[in-house]
């Protein structure tokens, strides 16, 4: 397994600090790189892909420095944000050229496999300049996958794809992650990240704001109450009983049921069944309603 390791990496442009002392290790599986616009995601990906030198710190791809080291591309596939491709080539020529530049032993076979993987076989003989945005993107992904890399970096890979293509790309990333490859993709669309990966690296203003499984990150945010949506056989009685529970900070009762804000996730989830049993109530629904990536992300960028 090849890893991406960043140790105290910073990057600045004159007086502007784009990336500030980021340390992270990416291993096998799919990781989402999240952050608001201008947070430094693209700068980070440029450094990881060897196209930008860190101003400070160490950045290793599979144990080798990324900067001034073309050898890393034997293990690394890159889909950059910029869409530029050689439009005068057909998709087949473009992917085949990539296979040849990687000096693969059977470039035609590798190109065929990569094009099949992104479902571009039918359009492979057309010039890339005639493609839609999504088709171009898939062609670029095929070129990045042609040498079957152990590490794949993608900057906004779902840009321009229609829903079906997007789903297919998500499946592809899932497959790559579960087969032991290290996949990192950036996106500003939270649903995409939530669909593809539980593990996130959140960059805010150039700093690593959070790292890991976003549900775990949420649970570690003890200063923010956890919100649960609850339906039971008698919501009013349950509300009264819950008000005595120490882990409950507040609650709302309306026709849709109970909304509980709990200060301690563990204490509340242990206490709720006991209270329901004691009151003779049946809990029909218990949903942690702010454990979505969107909530976690919103909490992080406003922290």
């Amino acid at each position: 397994m090849k890893t991406v390791e960043l140790t105290n990496v910073s990057r600045w442009y004159g007086n502007v600090v784009a990336i500030n002392n980021v340390t992270m290790t990416l291993g096998s599986g799919v990781t989402g790189l999240l952050g608001p616009n201008g947070a430094g995601k693209t700068t980070l990906l440029h450094m990881m892909s060897g196209f930008l030198a860190p101003s400070q710190g160490e950045l290793l791809i599979g144990g080798e420095p990324a900067w001034r080291n073309p050898g890393i591309y034997r293990h690394l596939g890159l889909v950059s944000e910029r869409e530029a491709v050689h439009g005068f080539l057909t998709a087949w020529e473009f992917v085949l050229a990539s296979a040849k530049l990687h000096k693969l032993p059977q470039p035609e076979q590798a190109a065929r496999r990569a094009i099949e993987l992104v479902e571009m076989t039918d359009a492979q003989s057309r010039r890339i300049e005639t493609f839609s945005k999504g088709m171009r993107q898939r062609t670029r992904v095929a070129a990045a996958l042609v040498h079957d890399p152990e590490i794949l970096l993608l900057d906004e890979p779902f840009n321009g794809m229609d829903p079906r293509q997007r789903l297919h790309m998500m499946e592809l990333l899932h497959q790559m992650g579960s087969s032991g490859r290290t996949v990192l993709f950036s996106s500003h669309i939270l649903e995409e990240v939530e669909e593809v990966s539980g593990t996130v690296q959140v960059i805010v203003a150039g700093r690593l704001a959070a790292s890991g499984d976003y549900r775990t990150i949420r649970r570690l945010m003890t200063h923010r109450p956890h919100v649960f949506a609850i339906r039971s056989t008698d919501d009013r009685r349950l509300a009264v009983a819950l008000m005595h529970e120490e882990s409950v900070n507040g609650l709302d009762l309306d026709q849709g049921g109970l909304t509980v804000r709990a200060g301690d996730y563990g204490a509340f989830t242990r206490a709720l069944p006991k209270i329901a049993l004691r009151e003779g109530l049946r809990v029909r629904q218990l949903i942690p309603s702010d454990e979505s990536l969107e909530s976690v992300f919103a909490y992080l960028i406003t922290a």
Binding site: A18, K41, T43, H46, F51, P70, G71, H86, L101
Partner: protein, 237 residues
């Protein structure tokens, strides 16, 4: 040489409209030659102006500038260079392929009309001399202009300054600057192969050959080093 890169580079160059800019000057050179020849004017009245003033001073460097800055500069401008750089290739393979394409296209585009002009003006030998001189100039200019496309964001402007200010202006005023003028090396090579009164050489042949090598190899080495440290423009989104 990496044939895949050379092939993509050549196709990219021929596929751009910029390529059409290569033809007006050779056509103009031939038209002027045919017109002067047709009018029956003696070659020593017009040939130096057409061959040196138009061919070597303008046509060859302009073609070299268009091609030399286009083989890599255009890919840097539109971002397609990333696809080539994100491959496990030693950077010298990329530069050598680009250099061969640039020098080859420049040499062919300029040597063919100059050969015809040489034959019409004097003899086949003079035509061959002009063609060889175009090849030498193409090598020197390509090394310089390829390096410029990695050293500056405005390679065409810097290249024009070199051709117009250094070679054309200072080369006529300060004779010492001719030692660093590819234009002068081309004249020297022409004179060495077909000595006549139409072309005058101001630099010795060994110096001209050695300096062409310095421009070519120096430009290539500089370009290789800069390509190793190629950074993508710093968007911070």
């Amino acid at each position: 040489m990496n044939l895949t890169i050379a092939g993509i580079t050549a196709r990219g160059l021929f596929g751009r409209r910029r390529f059409l800019l290569l033809f007006p000057l050779p056509v103009l050179l031939l038209v002027l030659t045919l017109a002067a020849k047709g009018a029956g004017v003696a070659p020593d009245h017009w040939a130096p102006s057409v061959i040196d003033g138009m061919g070597f001073a303008v046509m060859v460097p302009v073609i070299a500038l268009i091609v030399g800055t286009g083989v890599l500069g255009s890919e840097i401008d539109d971002g397609t260079v990333v696809h080539i750089l994100a491959k496990p290739l030693p950077r010298h393979q990329i530069i050598v392929a680009k250099l061969v394409v640039a020098a080859g296209i420049t040499a062919v585009t300029s040597a063919v009309p100059m050969f015809i002009v040489g034959v019409l003006v004097d003899s086949v030998r003079f035509g061959v001399a002009l063609a060889v001189a175009c090849l030498v100039a193409a090598l020197g200019y390509s090394g310089v202009f390829l390096a410029m496309s990695l050293l500056t964001r405005r390679p065409v402007l810097v290249g024009l300054l070199y051709v117009l200010i250094w070679e054309a202006l200072l080369g006529n005023v300060l004779t010492g600057t001719r030692v660093l003028s590819i234009h002068q090396y081309a004249l020297t090579v022409t004179h060495a192969i077909a000595p006549n009164d139409l072309i005058k050489a101001h630099v010795g042949l060994p110096a001209a050959i050695a300096m062409t090598g310095v421009f070519l190899v120096g430009g290539a080495l500089l370009a290789i080093d800069r390509l190793r440290s190629f950074s993508v423009a710093g968007e911070t989104s």
